[in-house]
Each structure stands twice: as structure tokens, then as C-alpha cells.
């Protein structure tokens, strides 16, 4: 494997595009779920905001803000696109699949959002996996909690 191939395998065009012009990068005044994730080692930080539908079962709007490396930013951007208009349980499944992708247990073609495939190069660089995972792990618990809340009500 030559050096430029392996660097390019991680910094694919689509990833660079998401990191330099992240989608859904904005702040909501009001939201139903807000979660902040922090990667203490590299100083990456993301804040995720979600507005649910009236039944509180589906993600109507999802936005993020933060600061991080291009992998973290691109991953956050792609995640917001992937979870838009998904139910909470579908979202949780996508999050779990993405975790599986990083652990090389799930293949990239399970994802409806094809952009996510570009992140599969990251799994070959163990130190960068946590950069890609940050937004996903940040959202995992709050979504589980929201699902539980819905079941109890």
C-alpha cells in the first residue's frame, strides 16, 4: 500500500466535502433532545440538538455544532443526514450499525446514506475511530432514554 493511497483512503473527497461544508450545522433555539459530546484527548466537541415530531417518536429536525477534526465534523454531518426523519428506534439501529462499522463487524452497504461508506476507511486507523464515533456515542444514551420515556408514558 503506498502512502498516498492510505491517506486518501481516509480523507476521501466526500468526507472532505462534509467536513468543509458540514450539513445541518446550526443552533436551534428550542429542541427536545440536546446532548454534548467531548473527546478529551483531542479536544473535539460536538453539541447535537433534536426536535421530535408531536408523538415524540420521530426525529423531525437534527442539527449539530462544534469543533473537531475533519473526521469528527464529517461524521457528525453525515449522521445528521442519516437520522433526519427517522424514528427513534430506527435511529438507534443506525447508531449501532455505525458502531459495528467502526469495529469491522458491519458492512458499509447496510446504510441507506451512501456517504457513510466513506467513513469506513477510518476503521483502519484505530486512533481516529473515536473521532468518527463521537457524535454517534453522544446521541446513543439520550435516544435510549427518550425511547424509554415514550414506553412509560
Amino acid at each position: 500500500m503506498n502512502e498516498s493511497f492510505s491517506l486518501d483512503s481516509i480523507y476521501q473527497e466526500i468526507l472532505m466535502d462534509h467536513s468543509s461544508s458540514p450539513r445541518n450545522f446550526e443552533k436551534l433555539e428550542k429542541c427536545d433532545i440536546q446532548a454534548e459530546g467531548f473527546n478529551p484527548l483531542c479536544g473535539d466537541q460536538v453539541t447535537l440538538q433534536i426536535v421530535l415530531d408531536s408523538r415524540k417518536k420521530e426525529i423531525k429536525e437534527i442539527k449539530f455544532q462544534g469543533e473537531g477534526c475533519s473526521i469528527c465534523m464529517a461524521s457528525s454531518s453525515m449522521m445528521t443526514e442519516s437520522l433526519q426523519n427517522k424514528s427513534l428506534s430506527e435511529s438507534l439501529k443506525i447508531i449501532e450499525d455505525f458502531r459495528g462499522l467502526m469495529q469491522d463487524k458491519v458492512s458499509a452497504d447496510v446504510f441507506e446514506n451512501e456517504d457513510l461508506t466513506s467513513l469506513s476507511g477510518v476503521k483502519r486507523f484505530p486512533v481516529r475511530i473515536k473521532c468518527a464515533l463521537l457524535p454517534w456515542t453522544t446521541l446513543s444514551e439520550p435516544i435510549k432514554n427518550q425511547i424509554k420515556k415514550g414506553e412509560n408514558s
Binding site: 492510505s6 480523507y11 473527497e13 468543509s20 478529551p40 484527548l41 473535539d44 473537531g68 477534526c69 473526521i71
Partner: protein
């Protein structure tokens, strides 16, 4: 005197790891502030110790144990000479700077009371920040952070103000910052602290291979800590030097073997200094190898090392300043800096840059450098850091410079597309 390029080649030949290839490129190791590589004499010392002299120290009457004990104790003398002091009872071996600092912070715990103040500086590494912050919390004491002057050095005016306006029991300051590379004026700062009766601890982890520390001329310092691995010795060993009268008054930090003089069912007499603070089987093999590292550094001469590293720093700063969008976080006066350059490049995240450089064989640090309160205060989440040592060359700095330009180009790709 500095080193000639021939001398540097000879020095490099003593460090086998410097000849590694990383991604098929020659290694350019610029992460010396994190840890220094080990010269052959240190590697051989470890090997020889385990092959010929290994036995537990201070325990056996047999020959091997005596040999190991002699070698271990001999290192205390080497440390004394390294620090410009003479009393081996003041040299405590620990697992590293972090443990040395924690030892003091725990042992003097009872000396700190509600209403007292503990003072650190904005420059401190987490290891010289958190132990004091937590001590203050445990003892309901105040915790004050001395801010920096506009040139990013510890501000003596703010420092004195803290000492004047509160009851400061101890100040903990770095001799050289691992982020800004700033060489701090510990002589004056410790003199100010003494005027107000505060104890002074100096974190010399970063300073130890770059500056001559001469405790015989630094009378106002009470404690000083450094680590073996940052001076080319093995990991897992460090030193706490402390003034004997204080160490004698301080209770042990940990209990166990070696620090005991007599144990009965209901009480224990502790061993004399320095053993009172060395509970458990010490890390003697690595300590002996640290002795070899001290000999090696002293044979090169710390003054020569400082001078050569100063030349590397001047050259590197001159190159880096040519890069558009690159900002150096450190003093503008290079005479007050060690060979550490923290920097950011506009639009290029440190992690991405470090990853790119790794593919060129270049090792730099990216992140918060264990000094989050510092870098956050100045508006960064992460920084790049290139840190140089006596085995680095001007050619390596050229390679680094060229790679930085390439990285900018590489990551600009999609930015340009967006601008269209």
C-alpha cells in the same frame, strides 16, 4: 559550545530507534517533549542489570542483592550531581514526576487548612494542576491560578498579588512549559514566594534535559520533580528532591516494604530518609538505567544541549513563520523558550495534520498536551506541537517545513471547491 553536524551524526548513531522507517519514510521524531528516545547506554544498562545483577535491593545479604543495592544507591549520587545538590537523603525515587507531585500533595495534606491558599500557574501540566486543585477541595482551601503576562510567561506581578492577598501555603510551578516551551524564571518566582512564607514545588519534567538545574543556587525551592523517561532513561522512574527538614516532618505517602523500620502489632516505626517515601519494591532496574541516562546527558553537557536546541528552535521558528495562517503559541522572545513549538494552522485541525505528517514519517503531538486549562483560556481546543531534542537536525526541520506546506495543500482540496 554547540554541536557540529558530525557530532550530531555520532549522537544519532547512539539512538537505534532514530533509524526507523515510518510509512517507508525516515522517522523524523519531533515529539521529544512527550518522551525522549533512549541511547544505547541506557538499553545496555537494562540488559546488563537483568543479566548480571538482578536481585531485590535492601533485602538480601547475598552478593547479587548487594550489587543491585549499590548500583541503585549510586544513582542517588548521580541525581545529586545532576541537580547541583549533595545530600542523597533528599533524593526520593518515584514512578515519575506525577507521582512525585502527588506524594507531596498527599503528604502535606494536613498542613493545609480551611482559609489557606494553594497556588499554581496557568502554564501547568495537568500533573501539576489537578493534585493541587484536588488537595484544595479536600481541605476546603482556596485554589488560585497565577495568570500569564502578555508574553505568555508566568506573570510575577499577579503572582505577588496572590501571595500578598491570601495565605498561600504552597506554590507549584513549572520550570519549563510543555506547551509554550517557556522557560520560567523560577529563581525570582521562588524568591517572591519565600518572602511570603510559601513552600515552593517546581515541576522540572520538561526542563530536565534542556536546562541546567542548579539547586545549590536555588535556595528558595523546597521540592523539585522530574521523570527519567524525559531525559532518555526508562519509563516508570522519577525523582522527588525535597529539603531534608521538610521531608523529615512529612508523613509517609504510602505504606509497605522498605519504608518500615520496625513493626509491632499496634505501631510502626518508619525508616529514615529517603526510604520513608519509597514503599514497596522500588523500580531498581529502571532506576539504574536512569543513572546511565544521567551520565549520558552529562557527558554531552546540558549547556551544549541548550545551545544546540536553541539553534534548532530559531531555525524552526524562522521557517514556520513563513507559513500563511500558522500561529505559534509561545513567547516571541526565543531566548526565554525551550525547543518546543505549539502552533495552529488556520482551517487545519491538529489531528488531521498529525495524521498527514505521520504518513511522511514525522511524529508530532496533536491535542491539548495535558494542559487544558491553559489552551482553553487562550481559545484553543487543540494545538499541534513540534518539540526538538539534541539528536534532531536542521535537515529534519526542512522536511517538517516542506510537509507542512504539503499538508496545507492536501487539506485545501475541498475548501477550494466550496469557494468556487
Amino acid at each position: 559550545m554547540s554541536f557540529t553536524s558530525n557530532q550530531i551524526q555520532k549522537i544519532r548513531a547512539e539512538f537505534p530507534i532514530l533509524f526507523s522507517k515510518i510509512h517507508d519514510k525516515p522517522l523524523v521524531y519531533l515529539d521529544n517533549a512527550a518522551t525522549l528516545h533512549k541511547p544505547n547506554v541506557v538499553l545496555e544498562s537494562l540488559n546488563e542489570f537483568y543479566k548480571k545483577n538482578n536481585a531485590n535491593v535492601h533485602r538480601g545479604v547475598h552478593t547479587l542483592s548487594q550489587r543491585a543495592t549499590e548500583q541503585y544507591e549510586e544513582v542517588r549520587k548521580k541525581v545529586c550531581s545532576f541537580l547541583g545538590t549533595t545530600d542523597t537523603q533528599e533524593i526520593i525515587f518515584t514512578s515519575g514526576t506525577t507521582q512525585s507531585i502527588n506524594l507531596v500533595a498527599y503528604s502535606i495534606s494536613d498542613w493545609i487548612n480551611k482559609g489557606d491558599t494553594i497556588c499554581v500557574s496557568r502554564l501547568e501540566h495537568h500533573s501539576n494542576f489537578v493534585p493541587w486543585q484536588q488537595l484544595a477541595l479536600r481541605r476546603k482551601a482556596n485554589f488560585e491560578i497565577c495568570e500569564l503576562d502578555p508574553d505568555l510567561h508566568i506573570d510575577p506581578i499577579h503572582f505577588e498579588k496572590i501571595l500578598k492577598t491570601s495565605k498561600v501555603k504552597i506554590v507549584a510551578l513549572t520550570a519549563m512549559s510543555n506547551v509554550t516551551g517557556g522557560i520560567e524564571d523560577i529563581a525570582s518566582l521562588s524568591t517572591i514566594a519565600k518572602k511570603y512564607g510559601a513552600l515552593v514545588l517546581i515541576d522540572a519534567a520538561q526542563a530536565s534535559t534542556h536546562l541546567k538545574l542548579n539547586l545549590s543556587k536555588l535556595n528558595n525551592i523546597d521540592f523539585l520533580a522530574f521523570s527519567s523517561h524525559k531525559i532518555g532513561g526508562p519509563t516508570g522512574v522519577g525523582v522527588l528532591w525535597g529539603k531534608k527538614d521538610l521531608l523529615e516532618k512529612m508523613p509517609p505517602f504510602q505504606f509497605g516494604g522498605d519504608m518500615i523500620s520496625l513493626v509491632t502489632d499496634d505501631k510502626t516505626l518508619f525508616n529514615e530518609l529517603p526510604y520513608k517515601f519509597e514503599a514497596g519494591t522500588p523500580n531498581f532496574a529502571d532506576t539504574v538505567a536512569m543513572g546511565a541516562a544521567i551520565d549520558y546527558i552529562q557527558s554531552l553537557g546540558i549547556e551544549n544541549i541548550s545551545q544546540y536546541e536553541g539553534e534548532l528552535l530559531d531555525f524552526a521558528v524562522e521557517k514556520l513563520e513563513q507559513i500563511e495562517g500558522l500561529e505559534i503559541f509561545g513567547s516571541k522572545n526565543l531566548n526565554t523558550r525551550g525547543a518546543v513549538i505549539s502552533f495552529s494552522i488556520k482551517g487545519l485541525h491538529p489531528h488531521d495534520l498529525a495524521h498527514f505528517l505521520d504518513h511522511q514519517g514525522i511524529a508530532i503531538r496533536a491535542g491539548h498536551h495535558c494542559a487544558y486549562p491553559l489552551i482553553k483560556k487562550y481559545g484553543f481546543n487543540a494545538l499541534n506541537r513540534a518539540s526538538f531534542s539534541f539528536y534532531n537536525t536542521f535537515e529534519e526541520i526542512e522536511v517538517f517545513f516542506a510537509s507542512l506546506l504539503n499538508a496545507k495543500k492536501y487539506f485545501k482540496r475541498s475548501g477550494e471547491k466550496r469557494d468556487e
